[in-house]
Symmetry: C2
Subunit: 306 residues, 2 copies
């Protein structure tokens, strides 16, 4: 496979690159910021792309925040944004359930392993759910739980789907419930399956850490609604009516972002070196994916503004 | 591979079988009992084997109880037993750490994901540990945790090993700690990696559900100290000075019990049909293991007593 073209410092190449696309799908963490640290020049770079008539869409696997909650982070960072240009895996999951799965009563409830972001997106799509942040699931097992989960008397017969996202309050009780619903035939979905979650310049358990015990127990794999799942790309295309040929995916991770763009047959992919993966990763023989272009940092694109 | 010999109802075959062995390693759940229900004739069957001069050793992957705690279960079930004939994965892990790993200060502490059984066995072997049932780990993440786990200031520099067993109080905080210790080079052990845990005639998350997020995050596999790991067989052999040729493993699970006996090159393996696996499982092309003998239920061996 051809190695990516390095754009940093090459104004002609940057201009040619920008002219190829109408839409930029941008990953956030590792591209715009790292945790709570905004990278230098990001606000100006986004402004520059928009001034050239480009549409920017922020595509994140973080399922803990709904789109309005995520927009608050943009505002706090000083990045102008519209809630409609934010596309998270919680939203992706909610619209997959409401528009693709279309669960019918009496089996139309979702058992949620995750935080408020998922719940808020499910509410927006009028999808009934249990679990999630409900305090009655945030506790130790009791003898009644063992009995009632095992014999089914404590299970909700209306649950037809288990949705596993990043849950900072994961516990044995919730995993036990989720497992029983899956054994009884519930559809298995995951907002995303990232094994780790970047935070405070380090890594913590990701959404994949919540679903993997269930995968291990059931032998089933969930349909994942985050990058690199093409279910997410289809949802983005449906929402924004984008021309894939004229769309570029920008990200720091080969196995999610770049793979997502390549498998989605987008016109291009741009890797940045401000996050997880480095040049050596796509030069490796077993590279998860090889981008078409790369820059050292996203703000290198601004060189073309001068 | 030859199919197993069916012993039930065949007194001559049972006598020949019993005469082959001096020691019977017996799995407990699914063999002696199911949850809190003791199978009929078990007490008499064990009595019969002992009356024929056989040594019985109870080998369990359940790490939540120490040997003395497990013995209480035997007593409550009405089964005479000696604490010395009980061999659990918590004990197996403790002696692996103290006698094989032999961690040296200042990196000799174990971070425990698990219940009191593990702690008690570690104490018996004078292995220092943190985590486990410590209430200060049974809570939600705070902003200080994110920061202090990420920068290492909240980590104990003396931890040199992570031991993951069945933890009914697993949470995000403990998984975050365990992951950071592994990233910093701690040895990764698991009491056992059973994906599920049989309880109340159903299944719940097993010890494997606690270690699998860490496997997924680190790409590392733990050394597992329960069946079918031969580390456990070596420990049993070391303790009981048994002659493997004259030892038979008895169990209900092909992928743990029977595999354990075959890989341990024991003189024989006996499957019982009162637990997880059935005849069709070893007749399947992809059978995890094929026993040498089987009985419908353990108490069928008593036919030879008449």
């Amino acid at each position: 496979m051809a190695l990516p073209q390095h754009l940093s410092g090459d104004v002609v190449a940057i201009n040619a690159f920008i002219d190829k696309f109408d839409v930029f799908l941008l990953d956030c963490d590792g591209v715009l910021w790292s945790g709570d640290h905004l990278f230098e020049g990001i606000v100006e770079t986004l402004e520059f792309l928009r001034s050239r008539g480009k549409k920017t869409v922020f595509v994140t696997n973080n399922s803990t925040k709904s789109r309005p909650e995520y927009q608050k982070k943009f505002t706090a960072m000083g990045i102008p944004s519209d809630v409609e240009e934010i596309f998270g895996s919680a939203y992706s999951s909610a619209i997959y359930i409401s528009r693709i799965l279309k669960l019918e009563p009496p089996k139309n409830k979702v058992f949620v392993l995750g935080e408020a972001g998922i719940e808020n997106e499910l509410r927006t799509e009028n999808v009934p759910f249990i679990g999630g942040t409900d305090p009655s699931f945030r506790r130790d097992m009791t003898p009644e739980d063992w009995q009632g989960i095992a014999d089914g008397s404590l299970l909700d017969p209306e649950v037809g789907c288990v949705l596993a996202g990043l849950d900072f309050h994961v516990n044995y009780l919730k995993l036990s419930h989720a497992y029983q619903y899956l054994r009884r035939g519930a559809v298995f979905l995951a907002t995303n399956v990232d094994s780790t979650f970047p935070m405070n310049h380090n890594f913590f358990p990701g959404a994949g850490s919540i679903s993997v015990p269930l995968i291990n127990m059931t032998g089933q794999k969930p349909v994942a609604l985050g990058k690199p799942s093409q279910a997410m790309m289809d949802a983005i295309e449906g929402k924004f009516q984008l021309n894939r040929e004229r769309t570029c995916m920008v990200g720091d991770r080969l196995d999610t972002d770049i793979k997502f763009g390549i498998e989605g047959k987008l016109g291009g992919t741009l890797a940045v070196l401000t996050g997880v993966n480095k040049q050596a990763d796509w030069e490796a023989k077993d590279a998860a994916a090889v981008p078409a272009f790369y820059v050292d940092k996203l703000s290198d694109l601004r060189a073309a503004a001068q």
